[in-house]
């Protein structure tokens, strides 16, 4: 990474205020005034070429001893050079430092500010809005600086450190006579529901504006899309989210590292295993734990099984949306998903919210019947997958509804920060399992399917081929765990609990157990960002540690959230029915969009 730093310094000698190398990650700190020029240089220079803006998130560094309290982190990735870079931009904040309160309503102009980079990377649009909403940083030059997650009439910025977690006291009885429960069954919010304001550029006079959602059967949850229509043609499609905003990041910042694992399950609830993997790997990266081979293989197998089940939900719902009310295909797809869930239930007792991966290994060893169960599932599924293909791939209605719809060429996709099958369907073979292998993926032989058409049909083909590659990976993984049957967690006693038998014989083990259970582990001060290849795209976790057992900042980059941003581009000029196809092919999960 030194040549990147040298390159930047050669062009802008005094821009880098601080340069940190931590856990093989490079971060540079710059001031807000110089950031915009530097950003366009980083993107346009041939030898740097940071063309994919992965993530933007604000950090509140109250009591961390920095001169400027608020900062925004820009996680950049270079597709041609396969490199990450983090730029920490310190916001211009004249008065905020100690006196300001995150719970107050503040005028935009009085908030700390950073120049917007929406003109350099289109991804920044929503990510900056989210940072404004939750952290209270004003991005100067952003065209549409409105709240995105919280209601428009919300006061304060929840992710600020002086904003409390909120919530209510928990009562353990539910006595109807008790006056404390007098409110039950009464409307909480009286009067008409508020209207969310529409973007200014929307022409509500000349064209018709229709709301699709938040309660609509084809939006895969509580997404709302404000449509500006000319006849049945879409002039503008503005997704409006936040209806499922659950405060994951704030919750994570109030819990010890290992206690956030069950929350990961509830973000992208179609693929909890993959979410767990991304989170535990981020923490392991911070702690520098060695993970046994057996664990790595099992994690790969389970993630790929999860990919199959997630793609089954996608195929079932997508085909149901496109074909109207036909229930037949979802029935078949969900049957396959049930078979995967049976395996999950066998290993951890839960169907959906598994929490099976723990920091340092697996929560329990695999049951003896695991290998047979997976093998027999693969036998069934390979036949079923062929049936799905026979049903759809050459189906004239399916082709007419999908081919040429929702075009998203490669350069636009990268500009929008799109990852996962959508990007690969545009011909970019970018798959983190291949380009930056984690959890022993480099020991597996598999292909990265791509297509060039960049439409909904190409995405369908890419995902089907991914299912086949997942089966290949699982088959290899099964062979590998036959030769490496254990251990199921690391021997590092600072991270994973000692076995029960050891506790009754070894004083040291008892102390470790006590320390881990009562205090948890304390990673060193620093910052890591880890992304893995989820079924829907890159799931990124950013962690900032202040040396305690609770993360100072926990950031989640949901792939669905970023991928959804291209909806307007893809839907423009098409019909409403095409929009339904497009939403289906983006494959969103609202729990992850809103977090």
């Amino acid at each position: 990474m030194t040549n990147v730093i040298e390159k930047i310094q050669a062009k802008y000698p005094s821009v880098i205020k601080e340069h940190i190398e931590f856990r093989d990650e490079t971060s540079i700190t710059v001031s807000a005034d110089e950031f915009h020029d530097l950003a366009s240089f980083l993107r346009d220079d041939e030898t740097l070429r940071y063309d994919l803006l992965v993530d933007v998130f604000g950090t509140d560094r109250l009591k961390l001893g920095h001169e400027s309290r608020l900062a925004a982190n820009y996680e950049l990735y270079s597709v041609p050079h396969n490199r990450f870079l983090r730029v920490i931009v310190e916001a211009n904040d004249p008065e905020i430092n100690s006196s300001s309160n995150g719970m107050q309503s503040t005028e935009k102009s009085a908030l700390p500010s950073i120049p917007s980079v929406t003109d350099i990377w289109s991804t920044a649009d929503w990510l900056e809005r989210e940072t404004y909403d939750l952290m209270g940083i004003n991005f100067v030059g952003h065209k549409n600086m409105r709240r995105i997650m919280m209601p428009d009439n919300w006061v304060g910025h929840p992710l600020r450190k002086d904003y409390p977690l909120g919530g209510e006291p928990v009562y353990f009885n539910h006595d109807r006579e008790n006056p404390r429960f007098a409110h039950l069954g009464k409307p909480l919010i009286v009067g008409p529901s508020y209207e969310t304001e529409l973007p200014e550029e929307m022409d509500t006079e000349g064209n018709m504006v229709v709301n699709l959602g938040p309660h609509h059967p084809a939006t895969h949850g509580v997404l709302r899309i404000a449509l500006e229509l000319d006849g049945e043609k879409i002039v503008r499609a503005m997704p409006e989210m936040g209806y499922l905003h659950s405060g994951f990041e704030k919750t994570g910042e109030n819990k010890r590292y290992e206690k956030f694992i069950p929350y990961c399950d509830r973000m992208d609830y179609a693929s909890p295993m993959c979410n767990n993997l991304a989170y535990v790997m981020a923490v392991e990266k911070m702690l520098e734990v060695e993970i046994p081979e057996h664990v790595q293989y099992v994690r790969v197998i389970l993630s790929e099984l999860q990919r199959i089940s997630s793609h089954m939900i996608w195929l079932g719902t997508h085909s149901m949306d496109v074909s109207g009310t036909t229930h037949a295909l979802p029935m078949y797809c969900f049957q396959q998903r049930e078979l995967v869930l049976d395996i999950f239930e066998m290993i951890c007792g839960a169907r959906m919210t598994t929490s099976y991966f723990s920091v340092g290994g697996l929560r329990w060893p695999l049951p003896g019947a695991f290998i047979d169960a997976v093998t027999s599932f693969l036998d069934v599924f390979s036949g079923e997958l062929k049936d799905f293909e026979d049903m759809l791939t050459k189906h004239p209605i399916w082709i007419r509804r999908l081919k040429g719809i929702g075009l998203l060429p490669a350069e636009v996709a990268i500009d929008f920060g799109i990852t996962g099958p959508m990007l690969r369907a545009a011909g970019v073979p970018l798959d983190l399992r291949k380009v930056r292998p984690y959890s022993s993926y480099d020991q597996f032989d598999f292909d990265v399917p791509t297509a060039t058409e960049a439409d909904c049909y190409a995405r369908y083909l890419v995902r089907l081929e991914e299912l086949r590659q997942s089966m290949r990976i699982i088959e290899q993984g099964i062979e590998k765990i036959k030769t490496v049957p254990g251990p199921h967690r690391t021997a590092d006693r600072k991270v994973s609990l000692p076995p029960r038998a050891e506790i009754s014989t070894s004083m040291e083990a008892l102390i470790h157990h006590f320390k881990l259970v009562t205090e948890g582990y304390r990673p060193p001060q620093g910052q890591v960002y880890f992304a893995n290849e989820n079924p829907k795209g890159w799931l990124g976790f950013g962690l900032i540690s202040d040396g305690t057992a609770v993360p100072h900042r926990l950031r989640v980059r949901g792939p669905s959230f970023v991928n959804l941003q291209a909806t307007d581009y893809m839907a423009k000029g098409g019909f409403i029915s095409d929009l339904i196809t497009i939403i289906g092919s983006v494959d969103i999960v609202l729990g992850e969009v809103d977090r």
Binding site: H183, L184, G247, M352, T353
Partner: protein, 176 residues
């Protein structure tokens, strides 16, 4: 004409001399309330409405393995005007709560609500600024289903409990 008891292929089974099997009109005596409730309880149509993780289990309930059709509730309706049952499947955020209230108000009487899962019942693990601590602060709830998410069997059981409740209801007049 009824079969004679002596000619029945199953001598143990007494076949009535006239009535049931002959095609002649018979009758059953019941109250109007019971007849109406019997009909209502066996055709509870849920609203096609999902919020979070529980919504996926709600879909599973309608699919082949768990098959909610056995209980007369498989007809998920997309319009609140046609639905009898609102299954609140997931966490209710502050931003979503007015929407849920409006959806509930749009449903025509008689209507029932199931709070599916911990989040809809009491906020679940999300005791924070964003989530309403239980959907019963917005709309009245008939059946609470614990679980995170509840298994499909649990949801089926809650619908059976709701059916029991419906059968015990009076039909005249509207509910509060």
């Amino acid at each position: 004409m009824g079969l004679d008891a002596g000619t029945s292929p199953h001598p143990d089974v007494a076949i009535p001399q006239t009535g049931a099997k002959t095609g002649e009109a018979g009758f059953v005596i019941t109250t109007l309330e019971e007849a109406v409730n019997w009909g209502r309880s066996n055709s509870v149509w849920p609203l096609l409405f999902g919020l979070a993780c529980c919504a996926i289990e709600q879909i599973s309930v309608g699919m082949a393995r768990f098959d909610l059709a056995r209980f007369g509730s498989e007809v998920f309706r997309a319009s609140p005007r046609q639905a009898d049952l609102l299954i609140v499947s997931g966490r209710v955020s502050n931003k979503m709560s007015p929407v849920i209230r409006r959806v509930y108000d749009q449903m025509s009487d008689p209507k029932w609500v199931i709070a599916m899962g911990d989040c809809a019942s009491c906020g679940g693990p999300f005791n924070n600024y964003a989530i309403v601590q239980g959907v019963d602060k917005i709309i009245p709830v008939d059946v609470y289903v614990p679980g995170c998410p509840p298994r499909p069997e649990a949801l089926i059981y809650s619908i059976m409990m709701l059916q029991r409740k419906i059968r015990a209801e009076g039909t005249l007049g509207t509910r509060e």
